[in-house]
C-alpha cells in the first residue's frame, strides 16, 4: 500500500513539473540534438571545445562578454600552460594604478578574466541599437534546454513572413520567442577557417560553439558525473548491506 502511494505521489509531483517545462512560448519547438556531453556518461569533446572557443573569439566576442571565465580555465579545453600564456598575451587588459597613480595597459595573464568588448552594459547596449548582448558565461544554463535552444537560434534564421513588420536591425528567427531578434545572423558557411579539417559550415560552427558555451556554464560536468557515479554506487551497495542487517535484526520479530 505505502509503496504504491509513494510512487503515486512521486508520479503526480513530477509529471506536472515536466509538463510545465514542455509548454513554452510561441516559438517553434526545439529540435533535440545529440550532444557529446549528453547522458550520464557524456563528456566534452576537446576538439569541439577548441573549435568552439575559436568561434567565440573570432565571432561572438566582438559583442558578447564572458566575464565569469578566465584564460586559466582554458586548461579544460586541452591547452597547456604555455599555449594559454600565448593566448592571453594576445589581449591587453587595464591594470593599475601604478606608482604615479595612472591606469595602464598590459598584456593579459592566465589569471585575468576574458576582456569584455564594451566598457559597461550601457555602452554595449548603445553600440547595439539599444539591445544588450547578454553575457555568455551562463547562457546555456539560463535558458530552458539551453544547448538545443542556442543551437536552434544560431541556425534558425529565416526570411521573415510577409505580414511581419521588422524594424531596422531586427531579424526573423524561428526559435526566438516572439521570432524577432536584434542579433544579425552571426554565422555563415566558410566564415571561420578550421585547422583540423572539420567542415566549415554554419551547423558545424553552431554545434562547436554550443559545446564550448555548455562547458563555460558547467565546467565541472565531467567531475560531477564521475563523482556521482561513485557516490551512487557506494550508496547502493551500502543500502543492500543495510537491508541485510535490517532483515537479520528483524528476523526474530516477524
Amino acid at each position: 500500500m505505502m509503496f504504491r502511494l509513494i510512487l503515486f505521489v512521486a508520479a503526480l509531483t513530477f509529471l506536472p513539473l515536466h509538463m510545465a517545462r514542455a509548454s513554452g512560448g510561441e516559438a517553434e519547438p526545439l529540435v533535440h540534438q545529440h550532444w557529446h556531453f549528453s547522458g550520464a556518461f557524456g563528456t566534452y569533446d576537446r576538439a569541439a571545445l577548441q573549435r568552439g572557443y575559436k568561434i567565440y573569439r573570432e565571432v561572438c566576442a566582438s559583442c558578447h562578454s564572458m566575464k565569469q571565465l578566465s584564460f586559466r580555465n582554458l586548461t579544460d579545453l586541452g591547452y597547456n600552460e604555455n599555449q594559454i600564456k600565448a593566448i592571453a598575451g594576445e589581449y591587453s587588459v587595464e591594470d593599475g594604478p601604478n606608482e604615479e597613480g595612472e591606469m595602464f595597459e598590459r598584456p593579459a595573464r592566465p589569471s585575468d578574466s576574458f576582456p569584455a568588448p564594451f566598457a559597461n552594459d550601457k555602452a554595449a547596449a548603445y553600440a547595439n541599437g539599444g539591445a544588450l548582448p547578454p553575457d555568455l558565461s551562463l547562457i546555456i544554463k539560463a535558458r530552458h534546454h539551453g544547448s538545443d535552444y542556442v543551437y536552434g537560434l544560431l541556425t534558425g534564421y529565416e526570411e521573415a513572413p510577409h505580414d511581419a513588420h521588422l524594424l531596422d536591425g531586427q531579424y526573423w528567427n524561428k526559435y526566438m520567442p516572439g521570432h524577432v531578434i536584434a542579433m544579425a545572423p552571426p554565422l555563415s558557411d566558410g566564415q571561420v577557417a578550421y585547422e583540423d579539417g572539420s567542415p566549415d559550415t554554419t551547423q558545424q560552427y553552431a554545434a562547436d560553439v554550443v559545446e564550448f558555451l555548455t562547458w563555460a556554464g558547467d565546467p565541472h560536468m565531467e567531475t560531477r558525473k564521475r563523482t556521482g557515479l561513485k557516490a551512487i554506487m557506494f550508496l547502493v551497495v551500502f543500502a543492500f548491506v543495510m537491508y541485510a542487517v535490517k532483515r537479520q535484526i528483524w528476523s526474530d520479530v516477524h
Binding site: R72, E99, S111, F234, F238, V241, M242, V245, Q248
Partner: protein, 177 residues
C-alpha cells in the same frame, strides 16, 4: 553480542555496515574541509611582476604578493658591507647574506615583510621610519630588530625575514611567486 556459529553472519554484516558508514562519513567530510583551502582563482593570483627600475639606491618599496607585503630594498654599498661584516656564528638564525640575495644582484634584497614572531609588519621601509639598532627593520609590536640583510638580530622573533620565491626576468623586472 554472542560468538556462536549462528551469530557470525550477523556480526560480519553489522561490521560491514559499520565500516561502510564510517568510510562514507570520512569521505563526505573531505569536500567540506578542502573547500576551506585556497580556491583556484586565489592560487592563480600567486605571482606578481614588479618593475624595480624606479627604486633609487637606499630606497625601498613595498608590493603586495598573496595578500602579504613584500619589501624590495635597493641597498647601498655601505649596507651590503654591513650585512657581510657580521660573524655568522653570532646570529640567532645563521645565514650568510649571499644566501639571501641573487648572485651578482646583491644590491637587491627581496623579503616577505612580516615579522617572524607574530606576524606584524616591521617599520623601516621609509626613510623617516625607525630601522632599529641594526639599520634594517624594526618590529614595533614586540621589539624585534632586523639587519640590512633582513636577519633577526635582537628581540623575540625566532627567524630571519622570509624570502619569497622570485626571479629576475630582466635587470629591471622581477617576478615574485
Amino acid at each position: 553480542m554472542g560468538h556462536g556459529a549462528g551469530e557470525t553472519r550477523r556480526d560480519f554484516l553489522q561490521l560491514t555496515a559499520g565500516s561502510f558508514g564510517a568510510v562514507g562519513a570520512g569521505i563526505a567530510l573531505w569536500p567540506f574541509v578542502h573547500s576551506m583551502n585556497p580556491a583556484k582563482d586565489t592560487l592563480a593570483l600567486s605571482t606578481t611582476e614588479v618593475d624595480i627600475s624606479p627604486i633609487r639606491k637606499g630606497q625601498s618599496i613595498t608590493v603586495m604578493w598573496r595578500g602579504k607585503p613584500v619589501f624590495i630594498r635597493h641597498r647601498t654599498e655601505a649596507e651590503i658591507e654591513e650585512a657581510n661584516a657580521v660573524s655568522i656564528a653570532d646570529l640567532p638564525d645563521k645565514q650568510d647574506d649571499a644566501e639571501r640575495v641573487k648572485k651578482d644582484k646583491d644590491q637587491w634584497l627581496v623579503l616577505v615583510g612580516i615579522c617572524t614572531h607574530l606576524g606584524c609588519v616591521p617599520t623601516g621601509q621609509k626613510q623617516t621610519e625607525t630601522r632599529g639598532e641594526f639599520n634594517g627593520w624594526f618590529c614595533p609590536c614586540h621589539g624585534s630588530h632586523y639587519d640590512t640583510s633582513g636577519r633577526i638580530r635582537k628581540g623575540p622573533a625566532p627567524k630571519n625575514l622570509a624570502l619569497p620565491p622570485y626571479e629576475f626576468l630582466s635587470d629591471t623586472l622581477i617576478k615574485i611567486g
